[in-house]
């Protein structure tokens, strides 16, 4: 991935700045995204990791402006090539969906409509976005090429989704995401619910396609191992906040936020040094009423009084590595693990 690094000096194609989004419910506001910033440069891949319910998918949906009806943006901006998506009208936003930002949905999801042929569902997006419009035979040819690219038989385009296996369906989802030549692909848990072998095939397929076509990919996963395998930079989210962000290698080998540290400690590593696995105890907080101070403090082994009252800022600790923790210096190296 060295070639993608060279591009990273350019201005980001996607720039999320201080995004704040709340879900309005009868019990009060749920702060699902709280002051989240990250950017994505051309050809780069960025990973968002965190437990379920920490706001990863809310971020993905916000990027496509497909958030739930009760969601409201309280601040921040989402700049796509310098234009704020939050200020766009519905029809302008529609022209950017799939054309500029497409999405690889979760394999477990019913991303395919059961009553239409797979090819027709891909063609539908191409008919809208690809300019100049392709003829019937041209779009079939293009879908055939896409299918070959993701390792599917082009004849499968005339089949219905239920005739595909889980892995094939996921490959077809990738083909659909590529159909309009987007600048950015959001891969939301692209391999969850697939078996390990297929998981690995799909990930290398995605990596290869990214290398060949030079698009940016935003990976979203609860599985830090997946993120480590495929991304250049990553961000760790906890309870709607970005708690640590930086180059993937740095965070993977040297996590500085206690949450990232514990996430990694609870994941076995095949290649890294032997270490004891430590379970991550407790659950993410209820976002209707998030804890004061640092949102992680109730679960944090390094907690101090300051953490309970004051919210730590996301501070740069060098080389683009940022951490939102008062005591990041007391987090030990991963190899030492947590002393009980």
């Amino acid at each position: 991935m060295t070639d993608t690094r060279e591009l990273s000096n350019d201005a980001p194609i996607l720039d999320v700045r201080n995004l704040v989004m709340h879900y309005r419910t009868e019990k009060g506001d749920v702060s699902a995204i709280e002051d989240v910033s990250f950017s994505l440069k051309a050809g780069e891949s960025f990973g968002l990791v965190g437990e379920s319910g920490c706001g990863k998918t809310s971020v993905a949906m916000a990027l496509l402006q497909l958030q739930a009806e009760n969601a409201g943006f309280e601040g921040g901006e989402i700049l796509l090539n310098g234009k704020d998506l939050l200020l766009m009208g519905p029809s302008e936003m529609r022209s950017h969906r799939w054309n500029d930002i497409s999405m690889v949905f979760q394999g477990a999801m019913n991303a395919w409509n059961p009553v239409h042929k797979v090819g027709a569902q891909i063609k539908e997006a191409m008919d809208l976005h690809v300019k100049p419009q392709l003829s019937h035979s041209e779009s079939r040819e293009r879908i055939g090429q896409l299918f070959e690219m993701v390792g599917l038989d082009p004849k499968m385009m005339d089949r219905y989704p239920h005739e595909f296996s889980g892995g094939m369906r996921q490959r077809a989802v990738i083909a659909m995401a590529l159909s309009c030549d987007p600048q950015i692909i959001i891969a939301d848990e692209p391999t969850t619910a697939l078996d390990v072998i297929v998981q690995d095939q799909i990930l290398s397929e995605l990596k290869k396609i990214q290398r060949d076509l030079g698009m940016s990919i935003l990976y979203i996963s609860h599985d830090i191992a997946v993120i480590a395998e495929v991304t250049d930079r990553m961000g760790v989210m906890y309870a709607g906040k970005m708690v640590e962000t930086g180059p993937t290698i740095d965070i993977f080998h040297n996590p500085k936020h206690p949450y990232a540290f514990l996430l990694l400690s609870s994941t076995p590593s095949i290649t890294g040094p032997r270490r004891k696995l430590a379970p991550l105890e407790g659950e993410p907080p209820n976002l209707l009423d998030p804890p004061d101070g640092c949102r992680f403090h109730p679960r944090c082994p390094f907690v101090t009084d300051q953490c309970r009252t004051e919210e730590p800022p996301l501070a740069d600790i060098g080389a683009g590595h940022k951490v939102a923790c008062w005591n990041w210096e007391s987090v030990p190296p991963l190899s030492e693990g947590l002393r009980k």
Binding site: H116, A125, L128, Y160
Partner: protein, 388 residues
Amino acid sequence: MGRYVFKRFIQMVLLFLVFFALSWIALQAIPGNSIEQQLRLNPNLPPEAITQALERRGLDKPPIEQFWIYTKDFFTGDLGVSWSRYPQPVSSLIAERLPRTVMLFSVALLFQYLVGFQAGKYLAWRRNKRGEMAITIAGVSLFTVFYPWFGLMMILLFAVKLGWVPTNGFIVESIWRDAPLSANRMMMTMFTSLMLVTAFIGLTVWASARLDRPSQRRMVKLGAWVAGIGAFFVYWLTNDNLVYAKDIAVHLVLPVSVLTMVGFAGVMLITRTSMLETMKEDFVLTARAKGLTEAMVRDRHAARTALLPVSTSLVLAVATVIDGGIITESIFGWPGMGQLLLASVVAEDIPVALAAFSFTGILALLGHFAADVLYGVLDPRIRVTSQG
């Protein structure tokens, strides 16, 4: 698909045989005198008809043998002679009545489903918005109203007070005195012309999806609608028999409207529930993420998939044509199968009643069959599982 249709067809034939036997037994069990005595007491029946019936139909033989003779006659096309309208053959009575019932109820059912589906789609899509409450209340009130009373009130309003439509009947006899063709023939022409136009538009629109450019597709679709409807109007407006067609058409207006009004809400509520379910599906999110317009998401994805349970309800609705038919035809004086059935049962005209039962049964089963095939067409998953 072929095997699926074949299997359904065989099931339909078996079901008909059961129905056929049950209706025969039910009519044997009518309280009162035995058939032989009914025949002798019937003043409309000349003695030679009685002897003929007794010998030919084996009415003096044990029930099992009678049933066997009746079955053989029925399937060789000999339905016998009406007892109450001697000597009219039963088959000619059926041939006269059946098309009228089919015409009225297929048109009404079509309208019920068109209106109901559109309304349900609208309700689900604009949930919690203005208009939902009004449509739901109106629909459910009409659905639960005592239908014969409602029918009479509509006649009172639109036929008696306003005089827009005839109060009842199928035609106005005086208009048809010098008609060059029978009313049934006219009706069949009307029905055929409607079917032809629908088929033409449907097929052209379906085929247009294969065209390369969207602009061509739009042109061809628009052309099909204009040509189809245009041809329909040109044909009828230049037709010498327009006055007869009009007579039948105005008689259809009230029953069809009333049937639509009382029936659409059922379809509407089923569509609404099914739509709300589908709208939660992930593929609707996919469709939106693809940048499809809201109308495309609604029609191609949400509503298209929500059609499946609606077509199941169509199966059931087709079956209700039998009982709904009797009430509707009585209220609107529509001389169809329902009235024939009622009259023949009251008059204990067994051959007519049996034939009427059998043919309404065939009608309902054919409707079932058509809906089953439709279901297979709509849902690709059914096609495959039934083949495998």
